[in-house]
């Protein structure tokens, strides 16, 4: 009896440890289960074109979530990422409409999101304000700026370069792949490499886990935090490019919940909201899980409110798993 309990406790501990070591495993399993279920439930879900569509649907939020992962890893949060991206889409569209070169327009949008990153990172490191407050403020400001720039009207985009990520595609084993998908994959690989194979990545995890210990062990905490917000800003600028590739219209009223969607993807991907633990691979899975749910449930003709209900329940389940894993690690 005692032995059996001891064994089962040990097994559970090792599962918890396993999840901690490889946080992407849980979301990957959820993704596979969802794909299998929807493929069985509908005739239309398992189809190469549809799978490609689902990936394209998760591109913008997935790219926002990539930057958000970095921010959350240092136990920050960015509530303004989608707003910053929307302002960037409007700047790109307005400049292109005014006759600017597509590359110049693209660059201007990306520079803006990087400046926002520097602003947030600067306040977070110099004045030690909580990221929640800073980005709540920047979110409000950027939302206003986007409405002022657009006057509420959508700005159509005809520039080839700005639409390039969505319009150019090639076939890979029969699956239509857009350049946007390719770019997102490369970005994920790049950030994965930087996080796991470089000193910078180790610093990011260390700062997220315990900033004081990181400082004592010689890590330049402020510089790491600032660099994270700058890299995140860069990804939000590229998310703006992705968004224009998806819909060639810069609309100030879209992605109203993009900030929360990106946080959802990060948390579903197994990254801890308390920082220091998680992976971009998990985030990729998290973003895909949401898109798969939406696509599959819509094809099953499930009402949108029930889709939101399912997404919310899944999110809470992910946090519960995170908590249990942490508790088992501590005990």
């Amino acid at each position: 009896m005692t032995t059996a309990t001891a064994v089962s406790t040990k097994e559970r501990e090792s599962l918890g440890e396993f999840l901690l070591r490889a946080p992407a495993v849980g979301p990957a399993l959820a993704l596979i289960v969802a794909i299998v279920l929807f493929s069985l439930a509908t005739d239309t879900f398992f189809d190469l074109d549809n799978l490609s569509t689902v990936v394209q649907q998760s591109l913008v939020v997935g790219t926002l979530a990539l930057g958000q992962t970095l921010v959350i890893l240092i136990s920050g949060i960015d509530l303004s990422n989608a707003a910053s991206m929307v302002v960037a889409t409007l700047i790109m569209a307005k400049l292109a409409a005014a006759g600017a070169n597509g590359f110049v327009a693209l660059l201007a949008g990306v520079v803006l999101t990087i400046i926002v990153g520097i602003f947030i990172g600067g306040l977070a490191t110099r004045i030690k304000l909580p990221a929640f407050i800073i980005t709540l403020g920047t979110f409000t400001m950027l939302t206003a700026v986007s409405k002022l720039i657009a006057g509420g009207q959508a700005v159509p985009v005809t520039d080839g370069l700005l639409q390039w990520l969505g319009t150019k595609r090639y076939l890979f084993g029969g699956i239509p792949i857009t350049y946007g998908m390719t770019l997102a994959l490369l970005m994920y690989l790049g950030v994965w490499y930087a996080l796991t194979k470089t000193a910078w990545g180790k610093h990011v995890y260390a700062v997220g886990n315990a900033p004081e210990s990181a400082r004592l062990s010689g890590i330049k905490v402020n510089r790491t935090v600032l660099s994270v917000y700058i890299v995140a800003g860069l990804t939000f600028g590229i998310a703006a490019w992705q968004a224009l590739g998806r819909t060639p219209n810069a609309d100030p009223n879209q992605f109203q919940l993009g900030n929360l969607d990106s946080i959802t993807a990060v948390v579903l991907g197994g990254t801890s909201l308390f920082g220091g633990r998680g992976s971009v691979l998990g985030t990729l899975m998290g973003a895909l899980v949401v898109a798969v749910l939406r696509s599959g449930l819509t094809q099953m003709n499930v009402d949108g409110n029930y889709q939101d209900l399912a997404t919310g329940a899944l999110l809470i389940a992910a946090v519960v798993v995170d908590r249990i894993a942490r508790r088992q690690q501590q005990s």
Partner: protein, 338 residues
């Protein structure tokens, strides 16, 4: 530390809530009621950044100036900001308005403030959106959204030319009054009901272009055998169009929308929408201010629902459906000369 961040969050929330209104004050003074001579008109819109409300505000201000009335405009901070609108009404009363024109954010959330104002002798006219019950205000000058939807439905039906509809519907915020009225009107116009098998699917996209695109992509995965699309407003119509375009389906589909913004009329001109239905916020504002002037002079109050009309805009007119072309639409988008 945690305690301190909580305090900071609470402070920020209070700050955000108290900065909700934009104010343009033009007068000081006491409460004036009808028949006292000079009209003092206060306008409360849902937000002050949406071009639709900007158009409404500009038209109201111009009409007030032309008729020697004082004018002041306030707004909620976002669509649904009842609290901001209540504060705006209170501020206007404080400033001595004798008429308040309001586009209520929610049909019920601002009723108490409206009642208090009316009890004090202020004329209250709802613009653009009716209150529930409708007689909570003295009068309503607005688009008949059911009729606007009906116009879209009738056009789509005519354009299908006798072919049975295979319809996908892109709705707005589920349960909102405008959404319900346009949706119901469209179905009446096309001759269907919510349970008709001709409806092949629907998605709700909260007015968000990107959500409309995703919803439409997922619906099209079920079936591309469709010939008609309803969109509740123009941004969502653009999102739906992007999804249809990616599948190469735009040629076989009649797509209708509602709003009549200049961008939406341009979408009709470019052939993205077969038709859109234009509203006239400028008329609502002008008639509202004129009623205020009348009230100030004579004490006579307007009453009931005054439909400011809607017009189908299309470059492919259909017999039996009255319409204007996109050239007319571009000159008159939202009732204003551009």
């Amino acid at each position: 530390m945690r305690q301190r961040s909580l305090t900071a969050v609470a402070l920020a929330a209070v700050l955000a809530a108290t900065t909700g209104c934009t104010v343009e004050r033009h007068w000081g003074g006491n409460t004036n009621t009808g028949g006292s001579g000079k009209a003092k008109v206060g306008l409360v819109t849902k937000t002050d950044t949406n071009p639709y409300f900007v158009e409404l505000r500009n038209a109201a201000r111009a009409t007030a100036q032309a008729n020697g009335a004082d004018f002041s405009a306030l707004a909620g901070q976002f669509d649904g900001d009842n609290d901001g609108q209540v504060r705006a009404i209170e501020n206007l009363r404080q400033q001595g308005a004798n008429t308040i024109l309001i586009t209520p954010s929610s049909s019920t959330g601002v009723l108490k403030a409206i009642k208090d104002a009316r009890d004090a002798g202020v004329l209250v006219i709802a613009l653009d959106t009716a209150t529930e019950p409708a007689d909570a205000v003295d009068a309503t000058f607005a688009t008949d959204n059911f009729a606007a939807g009906e116009g879209q439905g009738a056009y789509v039906k005519a354009a299908l030319n006798g072919v049975p509809a295979k319809l996908l519907m892109v709705d707005g915020t589920a349960g909102s009054t405008v959404d319900t009225q346009r949706h119901g009107g469209f179905l009446k116009g096309i001759g269907l009901t919510d349970s008709s098998p001709e409806i092949k699917g629907h998605t709700a996209a909260n007015g968000d272009q990107s959500l409309a695109q995703q919803g439409m992509e997922n619906l099209l995965q079920r079936s591309t055998d469709i010939n008609a699309v309803y969109s509740m407003n123009e941004p969502m119509g653009r999102g739906a169009y992007a999804a249809l375009n990616a599948r190469g389906l735009t040629g076989q589909i009649v797509m209708g929308s509602i709003d009549g913004g200049c961008e939406g009329v341009q979408n009709v001109k470019n052939g993205q929408f077969a038709a859109t239905v234009m509203q006239f916020p400028k008329k609502m504002a002008e008639q509202g201010v004129l009623a205020a002037v009348e009230y100030a002079k004579t004490g006579k109050k307007p009453s009931g629902f005054v439909n400011t009309g809607s017009a189908v805009i299309t470059d492919k007119p259909m017999p039996g459906v009255e319409s204007h072309d996109s050239a007319w639409g571009l000159q008159n988008c939202w009732g204003g000369k551009k």
